[in-house]
């Protein structure tokens, strides 16, 4: 393995400080998990997970979900361009017991929520919108 210098805490562009991360995690928890969302991921468009939370009962392979979501989002955005749209507003997949909802936080970040029947789509969209607004503010500071 290559050699590393001591104390190289942030050797890349994308790194939030501990306080920012904690703030984001707190938002994901209070806005979404507390309202019945099963699992939430904040990812970048390369598919890296930036923050995550779940209700403790979910057994989801979050890293695969992140990779697929980033790719899916990219594909849908490319499709939008083909038909002359900037983007499609709502990205939502409804299942029998689990559903997925995607939100674009900004040009770099996506939020993915996995949720069930405990929460209506309307309420979920509102809560996700709130969380995204909070995260944008934190991200701007960084």
């Amino acid at each position: 393995m290559a050699s590393y210098e001591e104390n190289s805490v942030s050797f890349t562009e994308n790194s939030l400080d501990q306080r920012q991360l904690e703030e984001i995690e707190r938002i994901l928890h209070s806005d979404l998990i507390s309202n019945g969302v099963h699992c939430v991921l904040l990812i970048d468009l390369a598919g890296n997970i930036i923050a995550k939370d779940d209700n403790g009962a979910s057994r989801i392979d979050m890293y695969s979900l992140a990779a697929l979501s980033a790719a899916n989002f990219g594909a849908v955005e490319a499709m939008a361009k083909i038909v002359g749209e900037e983007e499609f507003a709502l990205l939502f997949h409804k299942g029998e017991s689990e559903s997925l909802y995607f939100g674009k936080v900004n040009n770099e970040l996506l939020i993915i929520t996995v949720f069930g029947k405990e929460i209506s789509l309307g309420l979920l969209r509102m809560k996700v919108a709130d969380a995204m607004e909070h995260i944008r503010k934190i991200w701007r500071k960084f």
Binding site: M1, Y4, E6, S15, Y63, A67, G74
Partner: protein, 201 residues
């Protein structure tokens, strides 16, 4: 663009296997998956056609271990090599930190390697990345076919075709038998980690 989580002390980096169709990109990941079950915390995800050609990508995370107190996780991806899938290929390249170019040693595929490498340069440029700067390793795959009397390109020809200007580390390999698959992976991980380090300044 790699992501570092300071709080959980985790680093995530994206490594993409690129190269012409049927060159052996998916086979590389399959071999790694078999060899390192203990380092791969989930199943390999493959979006493919019924004929086992990659349609969008293969994906699997690989736990490298601890470096300076950070647990390093590389996300391994393959692109679809077929020319017609360029739009999806470009999507997979988004945020890439390191690339393995899997060339096909079969003599009849000589031109396809060149076209694919050129395509890599173009698609990296779309993300403002320079093929001469990104961590890159070349792999000359299917060397095992030589033993079966099937015409393969000599290494010096492959080097001349693909690596004359790039001058990056290269490995003769057989993804089918596993020869140098791990050496290729180790090399790209190490180059990628060194590049992070440089990104500090």
């Amino acid at each position: 663009m790699a992501f570092i989580n300071i709080k959980n002390k985790e680093v995530q980096a994206k490594i993409v296997y690129y190269g012409p169709g049927r060159g052996g990109k998916t086979s590389n990941l399959e071999y790694i998956y078999q060899q390192f079950r203990d380092r791969i915390p989930s199943e390999m995800v493959s979006i493919k056609t019924h004929g086992d050609r990659t349609l969008f990508f293969d994906f699997m995370p690989f736990m490298v271990g601890k470096i300076k107190g950070y647990s390093v996780r590389v996300q391994l991806y393959t692109v679809p090599g077929q020319v017609k899938y360029d739009a999806t290929r470009r999507l997979v390249l988004k945020g890439v930190d390191g690339v393995v170019f899997v060339a096909d040693s079969l003599s009849v595929q000589r031109k396809k390697n060149l076209i694919s490498l050129k395509n890599l340069q173009t698609n990296l440029a779309a993300y403002k990345k320079d093929i001469f700067k990104i961590p890159l390793v070349l792999q000359y795959n299917k060397r095992d076919l030589e033993d079966q009397g099937i015409p393969v390109l000599p290494i010096d020809i492959l080097e001349k075709d693909l690596n004359q200007q790039l001058k990056v580390p290269s490995f003769p390999a057989s993804a089918l038998k596993g020869d140098n698959v791990v050496a290729t992976l180790k090399k790209i991980i190490s180059l990628t980690m060194v590049a992070f380090q440089k990104g500090l300044t």
